[in-house]
Symmetry: C2
Subunit: 452 residues, 2 copies
């Protein structure tokens, strides 16, 4: 037969079974955590009409998008989950109840230049809260709680949620007469982590013609050190001079005020006045989340408040707040840092039943059926091989328990339960074996995805 | 702002939140059920190189496939989960342990003519067991157990798993001298349900030049009535005349022999000699599953045994057996038949905390935090609206419990827990409220997806 070389496209993650199991645990934790906060699951098509996806148009998006025709249709693959959400909410506004809280975990596509750790197909895990006409600041205050709970449940220990408020920045820029340049200033200070303060100052002055003195004041402002309380006290010095600033300060203070009631420990949260976010559409609170032991990785969960989600599709004003986790990238980084849990059972099953010969097959099948009825993930090794190969399968697969059944066992209605790690073996009834396995695996079944 | 009409492509399922929750339950049940039988989860890219996906080439596939270029690359969207599995196993054969049992639930794409109930993007939920060189018949015997357990767990009552064996059919065709026409005969009798015996006979005789007498014998053979035991007895009359037939009969008898040990009730299983399946690559046991109250829907879970999964990619012989559920189509049919459970909670949350004013906000947030810590899916209604609108949100969302918090409640550290369906209200601490909600919802949380 003429053969084709099997290969997977570059930039497309395809995991081996053991890692896929870990990824599955990450996904399950995200779903469970998002649902706990009253977000409803949503699933939208991967393919949309190109005019819908590109309603906003222009920029990097258009270059990276996977776009093609099928028959008469101009189609494209979604490049994020926000545009499909905007479409969904505009299309179904009359059938939804607002505020509308949804989560979505799905694959998105960007034809980026292939390089290590960059993916063209990757999972995003988003939550958004969409209001009809207005949306209370308390929704913004709740987001850090969802971020905290999610990473805590994943098992991550050293991370910090950083918040800022764009109104505070825009208000301060206005005080410096920089209102018309605020977008440029915002995008420049967003690069502070990457390029450093000297370069930020240079870009502001040279590229955007910001007065050197104003550039210094911007840098001084965003770099003010201290705790969240100290930063709020610092910001209050500017109160009463600009309406936008005052509103932003009030919003930021509200977010800080309730963060404790929401159960977020102080060490996992801080105001960071340097957070600006690159995207133009944020208008209030903005969020980033960093792994404090690995600042070089950058933000692993980002988002913010926007005032008009679906303006490209509807006249209805739909303000919202949302965050996104780039799951595929995060998983890749955790793999690289050897931070994925070793406790998660990565074998295909928790138990394998091994009949010694055909005569004990019926009892082997009944044993597996009994184990499954008790919730034990069980397979049967059916192949007619030597015992060494049969037990070798359990070993090689990493299946923790083997239930060996020979003629004597089948006649007595018992199994030889072998604990593969301990190497111990004992004769038990199938029911006793199931109870023993369930007890032994209780902890591992709840293992967190990340050790860290 | 220039606006684009928001729309979703025809042939692409996009559910409202309530239905999405039901779909979510279907998906969770499939994952859980497949995993219980020791199948490991797999996830492969939606996009593959076109030469990989079309290695087999030709036919309907090529016409329906979504194929496009990006840069220099000739790409295509997967049209099933079997070809990507073949690629995966060929590519990673040295890193896998055989028999390799995997499940995969994912979207696939076929540019079919748009019509009611036909989807261009749809979920398939597949399991396959792949052997290295050989694979014991017991693996085929186990598949009905997975099918039974899966639909049983979904809540479906009236369904029947029908099995046949292609070797039995091919052996019988050989006895009639039809070996060279066996593919055509197989594909024709596969249409028996749709076109009836008269038409099948006509096609066999007129189109494929089968002797009328032979055609009659084929129809008589496959239509033999009775229980599985009676059909086996009937088949034994032909034993000893053809090696393929004898092997098929032995396999079919083995599948029937163990079905009870695997926990499949007799009424959910039968031999059906008319089952042939259209696909050429099946070589042994074939499966279909019908809803006995809705035979017009056709098979909701089909599959079979194949001798060489990945011949287009590798010289390694990889026999297997697998089944596939077309989840999107199944869900659509269940919706149409009003067979989706009414017990599943389709609201975004199980409880909504309603603070009467800003003064009780901190206690409201603490209450929500306490509920979430006890596993209650909770949201807080933050918007500054009249009480009627606040409680109206709970009502309209279908959230079963509202926790109303006014100044008195906040001062006393209690909430007014309102059971929205019963209309009753009582003052409880947050911990008491959480316990009450958890007890009340225990059954609904385990509700099956299908009623029927």
């Amino acid at each position: 037969m003429a053969q084709i070389r099997p290969h997977t496209l570059s930039g497309f993650m395809e995991l081996l079974p053991e890692d896929q199991k870990k990824m599955q645990r990450v996904m399950a934790t995200l779903r469970e955590s998002y649902a706990l906060y009253g977000f409803t699951p949503l699933d939208t098509p991967v393919i949309e009409s190109a005019d819908v996806l590109l309603a906003k148009g222009g920029g990097e998006t258009e270059k990276q998008i996977y776009r093609f025709t099928k028959g008469e249709s101009d189609l494209a693959l979604r490049f994020d989950l926000t545009v499909p959400l905007a479409k969904y909410v505009a299309l179904h506004a009359n059938e939804l109840t607002f505020p509308f809280r949804r989560y979505q975990i799905g694959k998105v596509y960007r034809g980026e230049r292939a390089q290590r750790g960059r993916f063209r197909e990757f999972y995003q895990a988003d939550i958004d809260i969409i209001g009809d006409g207005r949306l209370d600041i308390m929704n913004e205050a709740e987001i850090p709680a969802v971020i905290y709970r999610t990473f805590h449940a994943l098992g991550l220990k050293n991370f910090r949620i950083r918040v800022n408020n764009r109104k505070v920045l825009n208000g301060f820029f206005a005080l410096l007469g920089l209102t018309e340049k605020s977008g440029d200033v915002m995008r420049t200070i967003d690069k502070l982590d990457k390029i450093g303060p000297g370069k930020v100052r240079a870009v502001l002055v040279d590229e955007f013609a910001v007065e050197p003195e104003a550039a210094d004041k911007v840098l001084e402002f965003i770099s003010f050190p201290g705790t969240s309380a100290e930063k709020l006290a610092f910001l209050r010095r500017y109160e009463g001079k600009n309406e936008t600033f005052d509103l932003g300060l009030h919003e930021l203070a509200t977010v800080v005020e309730y963060v404790g009631s929401f159960g977020v420990p102080a060490e996992n949260f801080e105001i960071d006045l340097t957070i600006a976010r690159g995207l133009d559409y944020y208008t209030g609170t903005v969020y980033e989340t960093v792994m404090t032991d690995h600042p070089e990785i950058g933000s692993i969960c980002s988002g913010g408040r926007y005032d008009n989600l679906a303006g490209y599709y509807t006249d209805r004003t739909l303000p919202g707040v949302g965050i996104s986790i780039g799951v595929t990238r995060l998983f890749y980084v955790l793999q690289e840092q050897d931070m994925l849990s070793k406790d998660i059972l990565t074998a295909p099953a928790e138990a394998v039943v091994i009949p010694m010969d055909t005569d004990c097959m019926a009892f082997a099948v009944e044993t597996a059926t009994a184990l499954r009825a008790e919730g034990v993930k069980t397979q049967i090794y059916f192949e007619n091989r030597k015992f060494k190969q049969k037990i070798g399968f359990a070993d090689k697969s990493g299946i923790p328990f083997a239930l060996i059944i020979g003629g004597d066992e089948a006649a007595a209605g018992v199994v030889s339960l072998k604990d593969m790690a301990a190497g111990t073996q004992e004769k038990l009834t199938p029911a006793e074996a199931a109870a023993k396995i369930n007890a032994a695996l209780a902890l591992r079944r709840r293992a967190q995805a990340i050790r860290g």
